[in-house]
């Protein structure tokens, strides 16, 4: 039991690290296309939940709805029958149910089950003893457990997202839960901040700040808040990307008189040039195996995606051939896909490229998408886009049509980056 205790504590501390009391806005789930092949699921309200300061069931539901993998049945907030055959008749393949009980010392016990219905089989039974302030962490954990018990594979709520918002004349770099809630500002500035990039251990963010009249790359430790300059060479310094082992970064410098990709160590030492063209080479991202870097280059006359090995061979292979504007690549966790932004007829949309076949398909249906990135399980993509004249954050399933607008609070969302699994 002791080891369970330890892992639970660790989990909660990670989350508490980022718990900031900001205004709330719930997810807007905008699923299109009927729910074909989505897992039909009835989530019953936890018994006694109406007395809790933070509702657990609604967070579990919005988390699972956000994944796009579930078709959540309509369940009334009160009077939902705890009756497997009833929910089976309603079309559910499984039901989630549970209760909250009060323990001594102000703690709460959250107990829940997930049962497959035909034939009836218990897939999950869990109990959490928590302080009331930890209910949101429990809800995300419940969502992960239900996802993994019913669908198999890894879920995604044990990760965080980073994004930049502009509020009036202030830019804020924020880190939040996957649903956009509990956002915490880690940097505020009166000048722009762009291109946040997570280190693979989730402990540091690299980003570009314009606070000194030009773009300079900083690295900031999220637990201490300490920041240091990573690259401040003559000219512009931008587009940081971490290597998977966290030891090196790819950056874009202009010391050659054009934007070119360079590699350097995480302490700023060991600079070496990576790309060699007389054109623009920018937006590098490392493949998950660390062997290649995908980037944007307009060496062919228009911005296209290329992949080049890190072994020093300088052998860049072009991977996009459709369209005259393909930018902002990001690798899937298995390294087989790239998401990127394509401009077509004045619209900017998120595309998904299968590297092996060269096939690509459109992931988003909006008009002004930017900075897509994969969830650490590879099943969702986060991106910023325009809605009603305002720039907001969306997450879209890779497998099912539809998108979810995240509950980001105020201002205009600019860049966004989905982080790795929490340490």
């Amino acid at each position: 039991m002791y080891s369970f205790f330890a892992v639970a504590r660790r989990f909660l501390l990670c989350c508490l690290l980022l718990a900031a009391p900001l205004a709330r806005a719930d997810l807007t789930v905008d699923i299109v296309g009927g729910g074909i092949n989505r897992y039909p699921l009835a989530i019953l309200p936890l018994t006694n939940e109406e007395w809790l300061p933070d509702a657990v069931t609604s967070t579990v539901k919005s988390d699972l709805a956000m994944t796009g993998m579930f078709n959540l049945l309509n369940v009334p907030a009160t009077g939902a029958p705890l009756d497997a055959s009833y929910w089976q008749q309603q079309g559910a393949r499984a039901m989630v149910y549970g209760r909250v009980t009060r323990l001594d010392g102000g703690m709460l016990r959250v107990t829940f089950w997930a049962d497959a219905l035909a034939p009836r089989e218990q897939k999950l039974a869990m109990e959490f003893d928590v302080h009331p302030s930890q209910l949101r962490d429990v809800a995300h954990r419940m969502a992960d457990m239900v996802y993994e018990a019913l669908l198999g594979g890894k879920s995604l709520f044990a990760s965080r997202i980073a994004f930049v918002i502009q509020v009036g004349k202030e830019w804020r770099l924020q880190v939040a839960d996957v649903d956009g809630r509990r956002a915490q500002t880690v940097l505020r500035s009166n000048e722009p901040i762009i291109s946040p990039a997570w280190s693979n251990d989730g402990g540091r963010l690299a980003y570009v700040s314009f606070e000194n009249k030009k773009p300079i790359i900083y690295v900031q430790d999220l637990s201490t808040g300490q920041r240091k300059v990573l690259a401040n060479f003559k000219g512009s310094n931008s587009a940081p990307a971490w290597s998977p082992d966290g030891r090196r970064l790819a950056v874009v410098l202009t010391t050659s008189g054009n934007s070119q990709i360079y590699l350097l160590n995480a302490d700023g030492s060991g600079l070496q040039r990576f790309s060699y063209s007389s054109a623009i080479d920018t937006e590098p991202v490392w493949s998950p195996d660390g062997r290649s870097i995908a980037f944007v280059s307009d060496r062919s006359g228009s911005p296209q995606l290329y992949v080049q090995p890190v072994d020093g061979s300088r052998n860049a292979r072009r991977v996009t051939f459709q369209g005259s504007y393909n930018v902002s690549p990001s690798y899937s966790p298995d390294g087989r896909q790239l998401v990127y932004v394509q401009r077509e007829a004045g619209r900017f949309k998120v595309m998904l490229l299968e590297l092996a076949s060269g096939d690509s398909r459109q992931l988003s249906t909006s008009a002004y998408d930017e900075s897509p990135s994969f969830a650490p399980n590879g099943k969702m993509v986060l991106y910023a886009s325009d809605q009603g004249g305002r720039s907001v954050l969306f997450a879209a399933s890779v497998e099912h049509p539809g998108r979810v607008r995240l509950g980001v609070i105020e201002g205009e969302v600019q860049d966004a980056a989905w982080g790795p699994y929490n340490p």
């Binding site: 639970a8 718990a19 869990m126 003893d129 880690v186 300490q226 512009s236 623009i280 504007y325």
Partner: protein
């Protein structure tokens, strides 16, 4: 928080996840760092008190101030997706080159773009514009050490509208004297 898994599959996941983790002390405090505030620009006005000046020095300073007023705030504008200097803007580059050649000051050239497209690709396009101006200045005799070409991409638009006129206003390189 205590977690009690009832079934084997869940406990295996938890066990494997916690093998090397020492138990942490419970804490009610927020472990996160306070937000950091980015520093303001360090470039000051540089004005210093000087000893009493002779008349020719005063004249020279007045002439320099007049020359500075002649070039200060004069920007170069670009066509869509272009970084070459238009004929109409060549006089502006020449005026800046004349000032820089005479007074040997340093200049920061900031390239800008309109609001359409990737932030980083726009940053690179803005850089291309700034480099284009830098090359023009160098051809006109300004020393490379006097010039730094940088880009603000689409991040600092002067015009915030979405008309073609606004976009044209933002496809621009500015000269910042230090």
């Amino acid at each position: 928080m205590k977690v009690v898994p009832f079934i084997v599959t869940a406990s295996v996941v938890l066990l494997s996840a916690c093998a090397s983790t020492p138990p942490a002390a419970p804490s009610d405090t927020m472990g996160g760092a306070a937000p950091v505030t980015a520093g303001n620009g360090t470039a000051g006005s540089g004005s210093e008190l000087k000893p009493a000046q002779t008349l020719p020095e005063v004249d020279a300073r007045a002439a320099e101030a007049a020359a500075f007023a002649g070039v200060n705030g004069k920007s170069v504008f670009f066509d869509f997706d272009q970084s070459s200097i238009r004929d109409a803007d060549k006089a502006t580059v020449q005026a800046h080159a004349g000032y820089l050649n005479k007074y040997k000051t340093k200049v920061l050239i900031q390239g800008n773009t309109d609001a359409r497209g990737s932030r980083e690709y726009n940053l690179a396009l803005g850089q291309r514009r700034a480099e284009s101006v830098k090359q023009g200045l160098e051809v006109l005799g300004v020393k490379p050490e006097q010039i730094e070409a940088v880009s603000l991409g689409k991040e600092k638009p002067r015009a915030t509208g979405t008309t073609e006129q606004d976009y044209a206003e933002n496809r621009r390189a500015d000269f910042l004297y230090q």
